[in-house]
């Protein structure tokens, strides 16, 4: 199958391309950019006039809910949502049921995903058995089975001795440890940023110190053990500042922020909108600004969707009891574009955070449009507005704080390995 995408504006941050360029695809790979290779005859031509061509999105956190939570979402439904969102590579955290702590489970997931022949699925293995924070997992076996790193998802290791050993072991083999920094005692039972809104609504707060204390211990232990660490879902101004300092000092650390946190503050909780119940909590305007600045100056590497499909029933509880999480795969691109526009950034600078940067963190070949790279491509209309509503979303999760909002950026075509999976 040979595909010619013509007349589009091509943005490839890695190769520094930001211009009108045609792209030629053959045998699942990018054959050429600009001029057609000799003798190229396309089976399919995609007219991308007024459209933007970027590398397929790389999402550092998308819960597909399999195995174990098929009533919330299935691999099939979410992989279609990924395609509709232009996401061609995604990382799934290990908090499935059973937890991804056995090679067999990881192989099964990889196999199922491969059969669907859609987005590349990169599982994170559990760092400890059952995520219980007591015994470390067979990281080498899990890595062979396909895990790209090791994570505790939303469960924190309370015992710092275990965290230390887990990082030592991971460091031995060069595995990256993915941790969402949250000190579990300070965050206990908390559901919202510990500030004015939580005070008004009578919600139990999670203080910023829950994040900063955890970052401090993780960075310190990582430094001592030599472990590579990726900090997931920063939420606070102080947290961003700590990572900035660590990076300046030369520490090997990367981090991401969820697209939700670039646009929401605790005031968006409004009258107990359960769709804004997220982990970590959305914080103050000041924190939101700091996250945005941290992303713009490179302190924060990547934007992820933190896609967490939740069934409607699980949200029909009072705020604290409603399950945390929001659907996100189909919103990652439009929310990134919105962020770029609000901060007057070049499209290429924004796109980098959902393509090249996350691919670098993963250490996989993705997120760019180099010749001979796998043809994972997203073609979108930057000017087309669409309304976020249940019927517009392919994901089985229909809950998002952005329901009802009109967003610019509609994915027209998604290609994985050179075949069209959406469009």
């Amino acid at each position: 199958m040979k595909i010619h995408i013509k007349n589009g504006h091509l943005i490839d941050p890695k190769n520094g391309i930001d211009a009108k360029q045609d792209i030629y695809i053959a045998a699942g790979k990018i054959a050429a950019i600009g001029n057609a290779p000799e003798g190229f005859v396309a089976n399919q031509t995609i007219d991308a006039t007024n459209l933007v061509i970027i590398p397929g999105l790389v999402d550092l956190s998308a819960r597909l809910r399999e195995p174990g939570f098929e009533h919330k979402a299935t691999l099939e439904s979410e992989i279609l949502a990924a395609a509709a969102g232009g996401v061609t590579s995604l990382v799934c955290p290990p908090d499935t049921d059973p937890v991804l702590d056995e090679p067999g489970l990881v192989e099964m997931l990889k196999h199922r995903a491969k059969q669907l022949n859609q987005a590349h699925v990169y599982p994170l293995g559990a760092l400890t058995h059952q995520l219980a924070g007591k015994e470390i997992t067979e990281m080498c076996e899990l890595s062979e089975a396909g895990c790209v790193g090791f994570s505790q998802a939303d469960v924190t290791i309370k015992d710092t001795q275990v965290l230390w050993r887990a990082m030592q072991y991971a460091a031995t083999f060069g595995f990256t440890v993915w941790l969402r920094p949250e000190e579990p005692y300070l965050a206990k039972d908390g559901v919202a940023h510990d500030g004015e809104v939580a005070a008004r609504l009578g919600l139990k707060g999670i203080p910023t110190a829950a994040e900063t204390l955890a970052i401090a211990s993780i960075l310190r232990i990582a430094k001592e053990t030599g472990a590579k660490v990726h900090l997931c879902r920063l939420s606070s101004s102080e947290g961003v500042e700590m990572v900035r300092t660590a990076k300046k000092a030369g520490q090997q650390v990367t981090c991401d922020v969820s697209a939700n946190h670039l646009h929401l503050t605790d005031f968006d909780i409004g009258y107990f909108n359960a769709n804004t119940h997220l982990k970590p909590p959305v914080r103050s305007q000041r924190d939101k600004t700091a996250l945005s600045n941290g992303l713009a100056d490179g302190t924060i590497d990547a934007i992820c969707s933190d896609h967490t499909p939740v069934d409607d029933d699980a949200k029909l509880y009072p705020f604290a009891e409603a399950e945390a999480g929001a659907t996100g795969l189909e919103l990652l691109l439009p929310l990134t574009l919105k962020w770029a526009e609000e901060n007057k950034l070049k499209l290429s600078d924004a796109v980098k955070h959902i393509t090249q940067a996350p691919a670098n963190i993963l250490g996989v070949e993705a997120g760019d449009l180099s010749v001979n790279a796998s043809a994972d491509i997203c073609v979108f209309d930057p000017k087309q507005y669409w309304k976020v509503e249940a019927k517009a979303l392919l994901s089985q999760g229909k809950n998002t704080p952005f329901l009802g909002l009109e967003l610019a950026g509609k994915v027209k075509y998604t290609l994985v390995n050179g075949h069209v999976v959406h469009g």
Binding site: E196, A199, R200, L201, G202, L203, P207, Y317, F319, A320
Partner: protein, 315 residues
């Protein structure tokens, strides 16, 4: 964001929280309550305003005083009243709140009075119910207890009619108190110029000053020259642990005694939403003393709840 408590004409549709209610509506409720205050003195303690209506008291959390006063209020308005202690029935069978609501709606309830241990429960129910149904929040988690806030300002207005010239101190566990939040909003909305909160830092929410209150940690400073002292109940589970070392130490520092009360204005009134912990947050000599208006609060509670129900039924 539309205020979920008001209908399209800006009139009260549900009573969920004092926050966000205009002064006009607070005064309407207080003035209406004034007209009901005399009903209890009559030989026939009933008015027919809610005749044919069904009021459903839905208590997902235990309560005696609030539940009883709502029942009395509804009965004095001639409504049919059902009271369900849901904590002991369907919830333990796994039925969700909204299932319970749907079932009661099918039985043609017109008004729900809801108490729940989670903040936001009343808002969630109000969002879910059929358009003809009104919801009254009788206490949700640490969020709001609007009828208590209203009866407290009603009581203050009775004893201290010049609201715009008052200094009010709220003492105790503001962090967990839905009563304190509703009092603060009611007082600030009605134009009370100085509302103070007095408590150790462990019992105050982060950024509490943004609710428009002055923060004190010292009773001697905080009570100085106040016109009204509003005491809060200290829940048993908070009396020892990480929040407070002991009930004894709490009483020593924050308990209201005659000596501490003497720092307030000589004609200051003392209030408490009940049930009281004598010897923990308040000394018996003060609770039963001449400055105490704790029992009138209970009496006025009925009139205020009648006012809220009749206004909601009228809208």
């Amino acid at each position: 964001m539309l205020n979920p408590q008001l209908n399209d004409d800006g009139e009260l549709k549900h009573l969920l929280s004092i926050e966000g209610l205009p002064k006009r509506i607070l005064n309407q409720i207080l003035d209406t309550a004034e007209s009901f205050a005399g009903v209890a003195e009559r030989e026939v303690k009933k008015v027919p305003l809610l005749r044919g209506k069904t009021v459903c008291n839905l208590f997902f959390e235990n309560s005696t005083r609030t539940r009883t006063t709502f029942e009395i209020a509804a009965k004095r308005l001639s409504a049919d009243v059902i009271t369900l202690n849901v904590s002991t029935s369907s919830q333990s069978k796994g039925e969700t709140i909204l299932d319970t609501i749907d079932n009661l709606t099918a039985m043609h309830a017109d008004m729900f009075v809801v108490r729940h241990a989670q903040s936001g429960a009343a808002h969630m129910i109000a969002k879910h119910v059929a358009p003809h149904i009104s919801v009254i929040n009788a206490g949700d988690g640490s969020h709001a207890h609007p009828t208590q806030g209203l009866l407290d300002v009603f009581t203050i207005r009775k004893y201290k009619p010049e609201m715009h010239n008052l200094r009010v101190a709220i003492v105790g566990d503001v962090l967990h108190s839905r009563v304190a939040r509703s009092e603060i909003h009611a007082l600030t909305t009605l134009g009370v110029p100085e509302v103070r909160v007095i408590a150790p830092k462990t019992l105050l929410p982060q950024d509490v000053e943004k609710l428009g209150v002055h923060v004190y940690h010292d009773m001697n400073e905080g009570l100085k020259d106040v016109d009204v002292v509003m005491m809060l109940r200290l829940q048993n589970e908070r009396m020892a642990g990480a929040m407070l070392p002991s009930a004894q130490e709490y009483f020593k520092i924050y308990g209201l005694t005659s000596e501490k009360l003497a720092l307030a204005k000589p004609d200051a009134i003392v209030m408490h939403p009940g049930p009281m912990n004598r010897g923990v947050e308040i000394d018996s000599a003060v609770a039963d003393g001449t400055q105490s208006v704790i029992l009138p609060q209970v009496t006025y509670g009925i009139a205020v709840r009648m006012a809220v129900m009749s206004i909601l039924a009228g809208n």
